[in-house]
Amino acid sequence: MTSNGTAEPGEPAPPDGAAGSAGPAPSNGAAVPGEPLLSVRGLKVHFPIRKGTLLQRVVGHVRAVDGVDLEVRRGMTYGLVGESGCGKSTLGKAVLRLVEPTAGTVVFDGVNLALQGPEPMRRLRRNMQMVFQDPLASLDPRQSVESALTEPLRAHGFPGDRSKRVRELLDIVGLPAGAAGRYPHEFSGGQRQRVGIARAIALNPDLIIADEPVSALDVSIQAQIVNLLEDLQEQLGLTYVVVAHDLAVVRHVSDVIGVMYLGALVEEAPSDELYAEPLHPYTIALMSAIPIPDPEVEERRRRILLTGDLPSPVDVPPGCRFHTRCPFRQPTRCAEESPDLREMRPGRKVACHWAEEIATGTIRAAASAQDPTATEVGAPAVQ
């Protein structure tokens, strides 16, 4: 069972249309007919922590998502990045109401999802689907591929020939027609993720939320799935929210990237600009921490090391939530006043009091984290 043929889907399509190659002037609105498909306002997801066996007192809250605003335009890809525990997956699930938001609104295609009863919500779900990280966990091991793909069609009353649709779906995601009768364990990781994607697009949704779609796969396979997602967007006009911790992958597929830290967005930018000029101290540190597979570049890079660990989302620091680890921290204001996500310049949003000063170099990182000599960590210390 060679899957050689599966790597080349149909015709080579340029990566996500004109949006990706916008070039020098990344004008978001112009390239893509972009009315917002999804709009999230003040979304919060707090999980209560209960103590005691009988009374179950609530002793605190895990503030997994703590007030997020974002907007995703039709046909675009919004990338959500952040480290484990920052709430990015919870945010993705809360958008689909797979976990109930504590506060805030999610408007999908003009419909406020929070106001929908169970049955209208169920009907709306055909337009928004999810692709999960580990297809082995999200596919039923005892269900054949055909059955897994037919189930959404049956549940939503797909008109027409279902088995024809299954064959069509397999073809779209680059699996042989013979895959229909097989079971998840018979496939490799990449092929299983193709099944997961086929199931998500079965009902022609508008929006797909992909939660770490490639992180469980081997490096050589990741690119196959990334290309498949891009082709599908081109062919089917899909809108994606891609949630992942791998910034290089997210930047590759996304038009706009939101960086999350401890339940909130700290920066939002067109993906071309985010690496070229990160504005928030956390993004700056995150970018500098990502290893680049090129020794020449690695040796020249300046790395900003964060100290300490991510604070617990039960105890979000007062003031700016990043101030406990921030190398650019300034006295008093950072610890006292929580910065809003504000538009610093068109298309660039940042939640930092001092973003302008940091960008111009007026405020520099603390010596422990950044020192002209000490930060040249790429320098061949090992020779």
Partner: protein, 320 residues
Amino acid sequence: MVFRQRGRPDVRAVDGVGFSVAPGETVGLVGESGCGKSVTSLAVMGLLPRRGVRVEGSVSFDGTELLSLPPDKLRTLRGRELAVVFQDPMTSLNPVVPVGTQVTEVLVRHRGLNEGEARKEAGDLLRRVGIPDPSRRLREYPHQLSGGMRQRALIATALACRPRLLIADEPTTALDVTIQAQILELLKTLVAESGTALILITHDLGVVAGMCDTVHVMYAGRIVERASRHDLFGAPRHPYTGGLLASVPRLDQPRGTRLEPIAGSPRDTIPWDRGCAFAPRCPNRVEECTSATPELLGGHHGLRCFNPLRSGPVREVTPR
């Protein structure tokens, strides 16, 4: 090295892998899951079960042959001269023993310190690996520490006797990138300061590019390419290495270029004795690839391929 299981054909997990590490040098073993990189490290440390596994060849550490060393001698060497850090600190640390005890244990056993001295030394070690408030942390259990801290505690244990060889098997794969940067920095300082030889096993090409002096790329149990990191990343010769580099998106490259995946999956392979295991996925395949076994040739830049890449897909580096 051959794995045997009754009623099944033997599995040749690692076949003819050879490399050397000098003091103060960092050597990388790179490859995808199942390529045999971890098994190689277990064999070097003598940590594979004696039954059901046949290990052949030679592992020489400072003139001592490890494979034929009696178990008690090996045990003395391990922990003192040789140390290993695994990917998942939660399974390497004992969950019901405080972290401090696990660090002091090594010091008492191998360096003959008494309990008090060992505790003081353990505190210093934790501080050195960047764990704040070490005296409190020493009393805590592994589950009370975060993933990054657990990994640092494990590294502290590994460093307790200032080993001359450290094997780090995917030491940062389970960690977030900002924590990864801290741990890699720590390992780098260690190698530079104490002249420890480091074998770094990883699948992450970025980590290799920043850390290793020499890199061995493994595929299906054999080394397919061996070079200094500058040669390997600057001009990869093996189609597998080239394919890996072309299939990862890079942060410092302009966006919009399509990724070039390697076709198929690591499962699509043929046994080495019938040809090149990578042949079924290889864009450069020639007839010879499926009829004869390629040998690892060339000294400085070793290569196991009949039809290597002429000039590797060297990508322009845009200076920032």
